[in-house]
């Protein structure tokens, strides 16, 4: 019984003490997580940069190598979802809510507080801000997700193993994946996902509360935030109950449409040429500085900035990767490795670049061309940046409502897919996990988020999730080796035999 549910039981046993610490002694958890987090970022930052750059090279290598022709499923299988459905779900799970949060706030934050070698609020700082926003949200996060999801999809859909991270280690560990080494990998994944999701839900709820307060008479109080969590929980549980094919897909497609409408409106009504200039120019700078940005830790000047932003993001994407990886894998059955990598690497990255250009560009147009300072108010409250920008545009209430709707739906799709992934991971890779398990995880996440907002332990728990990124980086490096070995085996030993067999037939 214990062995059957080892991952479920032990991941709960491991997570609950930290959640309780966040509830009852948030100060202690904050000190503990800060020490762990700071030590890791301080001493292993270079390791994150090297590893993430390796994941990008690895993804590109697989896409253009002979393995690119392999299918994530049996050779006769076709993709389960249309391109639009697939991209919508990719985007919703991978970025969605964060992009709404940081679309305006991140460029403005870098603009106001660049590393020491740049002057604040200068045109150089604006250029730097756009370039780094592209960098943090561009190819690298998707390369991390691709490494994870490609491995899961390959081993589960092509090799018939349960969709678990431990399954991907069969070429390296053999039958030990069914023992404690395998459990440890899955438990670590659940640990990072539970903490990551709970804190994301909490932070998302706080942003929705700020947004609502700016367009409605609703006050920015704890009661409103808790009510938002309750409503969202009810909605994502409903979506979760309807399953992957209907719930998340419909919501994600709707949201992409909303996002496109908002993006299109801002592009047309805002400074169109300025925005497109920002897009084109930053794309060029991003492309030419990709290698140096990928590996610059800035040890002589600006290391603190690198720690606060780049290393934080890299650790966050890695901690987030078990969840996104499993989800993206589950929607990618039937695609070839090449199609999967190029699709998941380029399309979401391009959309992200466009998003940052439109919203960041609009903010810089106000700052630099019209002399309206947004960065100061953003510095005070990052979550209001987007709503602040809307006040300088026509149809402000409609734009704010649309953004809130986007936030809400992305919130629901993230929570829904996280519930699905957690249930799948803790039911031994069942692609149709029981509803009861979805309800348990869904309620636990929301309750944790609500309780942590109340106790003030949200950020401390987020740091714990990020701390899990360090062991997970090692897991992912070995995962790449395992995937490469499996693909090589198939190509070197199985392909010739199949060709021989079909030749003799």
């Amino acid at each position: 019984m214990i062995k059957r549910n080892a991952v479920f039981i032990f991941s709960l046993l491991l997570s609950v003490p930290f959640i309780f610490m966040g509830l009852f002694t948030p100060g202690f958890l904050n000190r503990l997580s800060s020490i762990i987090h700071t030590t890791i970022i301080e001493h292993f930052g270079w390791g994150y940069l090297l590893s993430v750059f390796f994941f990008l090279i690895f993804a590109l290598y697989l896409a253009f190598s002979r393995y690119g022709n392999l299918k994530l499923g049996k050779d006769y299988e076709k993709p389960q979802y249309s391109y639009f459905g697939w991209f919508s779900m990719l985007f919703a799970a991978g970025m969605g809510i964060g992009l709404i949060f940081w679309g305006v706030a991140e460029p403005l934050s870098h603009f106001a507080n660049p590393p020491g070698y740049l002057e604040s609020n200068s045109r150089e700082a604006a250029q730097f801000a756009m370039q780094r926003s592209f960098f943090h949200w561009g190819l690298h996060p998707w390369a991390i997700y691709i490494t994870m999801s490609l491995s899961i999809a390959f081993f589960s859909f092509r090799r018939g193993m349960p969709p678990l991270i431990s399954s991907c280690f069969y070429p390296l560990l053999g039958n030990r994946i069914y023992g404690w080494p395998g459990y440890a990998i899955d438990i670590l994944a659940v640990f990072a996902t539970v903490f990551g999701i709970a804190t994301s839900l909490g932070l998302g709820a706080l942003q929705i509360t700020s947004g609502l307060a700016s367009v409605t008479p609703l006050p920015e109080t704890m009661a409103v935030t808790l009510s938002i969590i309750a409503v969202v929980t009810l909605l994502f549980m409903l979506s979760s109950a309807t399953g992957l094919d209907t719930g998340i897909q419909i919501l994600s497609k709707t949201n992409i449409l909303f996002a496109m409408i908002l993006l299109g409106f801002m592009l047309v009504v805002g400074p169109t040429s300025y925005t497109l200039n920002v897009f084109t120019s930053t794309l060029g700078e991003y492309g030419s500085a990709l290698l140096s940005m990928s590996l610059s830790t800035n040890p002589f000047t600006g290391y603190d900035w690198t720690k606060d932003w780049t290393l934080f993001y890299w650790a966050w994407w890695i901690a987030w990767s078990p969840f996104v990886g499993l989800f993206v894998a589950s929607i990618s059955r039937g695609r070839t490795v090449r199609e999967f990598i190029l699709g998941a690497l380029l399309v979401p990255a391009l959309l992200t670049f466009l998003w940052f250009s439109v919203f960041g560009g609009a903010a810089f147009h106000l700052e630099l061309e019209r002399g309206i300072s947004l960065s100061e108010s953003v510095g005070n409250n990052v979550s209001t940046a987007l709503f602040e920008l809307f006040t300088y545009y026509p149809l402000t209430p409609i734009l704010t409502t649309l953004a809130l709707l986007l936030l809400g739906v992305f919130f629901i799709t993230s929570a829904d897919s996280a519930t699905y992934v957690l249930s799948m991971m803790t039911s031994r890779g069942n692609l149709n996990p029981p509803l009861s398990r979805k309800i348990v995880w869904g309620l636990l996440q929301s309750a944790t988020a609500a309780a942590l907002i109340f106790s003030g332990g949200l950020e401390a728990l987020q740091k714990m999730a990020i701390a899990a990124a360090l062991p997970f980086t090692l897991v992912m490096l070995f995962l790449s080796l395992s995937l490469l070995r499996a693909m090589r085996y198939e190509w070197v030993y199985e392909r010739p035999r199949e060709a021989e067999k079909s030749g003799s037939d």
Binding site: F155, R159, G160, M161, Y170, P171, L172, G174, N175, R485, A486, Y489, E490, V492, Y493, E494
Partner: protein, 262 residues
């Protein structure tokens, strides 16, 4: 001298009837009269074990000279008495044995005298490293020698684990079937035949198996696929030769494709 005598006795077990004794000297450094005397002494000691003995004193690069003479004299294999070198010696001075293993297109027998002497020249266990690359036909010639008189033969295959448990099980079954087929061909020459299928790094697993089964000789094929890693760290045969505690017979096959796994 004792080591050379042990080597000569050992070679008899592989059906050797004719030996070419070769000593390579660096030009200008060696005293030719002294070398000739030593060669004569060696010939006197070991000559009686073989039907025909020839001695040659060569000059130049030892590994190249050994390969040249072996080719010209059309010998069946090259036999070298192993001389242990530490890391620094190996790195700075190189190893003639390693070079011969790398360069020779003839089988190379590396004799690690100490082990055989401890057991009184007795040959009990032989490890046959199987790569399913058809080199086993050539290796069989050595295994089916009357004089060998070893008792146990371990046919060891080290393969890559298949990507999933179902394929892995099928692969293991196929490996055992093929190993048993090969062992069947040697059943008249050994008392015990044991198929062993291992997974992992071939160098490490072969060395571990040799220790586990206390083998006296490892017989393995050699194939150079010329990869970058091989250039840097050496082939499996080179590493096994260097690290094994027992004697090793390397049978190179340069005319075949890389080993086929099952």
């Amino acid at each position: 001298m004792e080591r050379l005598k042990a080597l000569a006795r050992f070679l008899r077990k592989f059906g050797t009837t004719r030996v070419v004794l070769l000593h390579v000297v660096s030009s200008g450094l060696a005293r030719s009269s002294h070398v000739a005397e030593r060669m004569k002494a060696v010939r006197n000691e070991v000559g009686s074990l073989f039907e025909e003995t020839e001695d040659i004193i060569g000059q130049g690069s030892p590994a190249l000279e050994i390969c040249r003479v072996a080719r010209e004299r059309q010998t069946r294999f090259v036999a070298i008495a192993w001389k242990q070198k530490d890391f620094l010696q190996r790195t700075l001075l190189g190893s003639t044995t390693q070079d011969v293993v790398r360069l020779s297109s003839l089988p190379v027998f590396v004799f690690k005298g100490d082990v055989a002497e401890k057991k009184g020249d007795e040959l009990r266990n032989i490890l046959f490293a199987v790569n399913f690359d058809q080199s086993h036909e050539r290796i069989m010639e050595y295994l089916r020698t009357r004089e060998l008189a070893a008792t146990d033969l371990y046919a060891v295959h080290v393969g890559e684990r298949a990507p999933d448990p179902v394929t892995e099980q099928a692969r293991q079954e196929a490996v055992f079937n093929r190993l048993n087929e090969l062992l069947g061909e040697c059943s008249d020459w050994f008392k015990t035949l044991k198929p062993v299928s291992l997974v992992g790094n071939p160098k490490r697993e072969l060395l571990k198996a040799a220790r586990r089964y206390e083998v006296d000789v490892i017989i393995m094929g050699k194939f150079s696929h010329g990869g970058a890693m091989e250039q840097l760290v050496g082939s499996t045969a080179e590493t096994v030769t260097r690290k094994a505690r027992c004697s090793v017979l390397i049978v190179p096959r340069t005319d075949i494709r890389r080993g086929e796994d099952v």
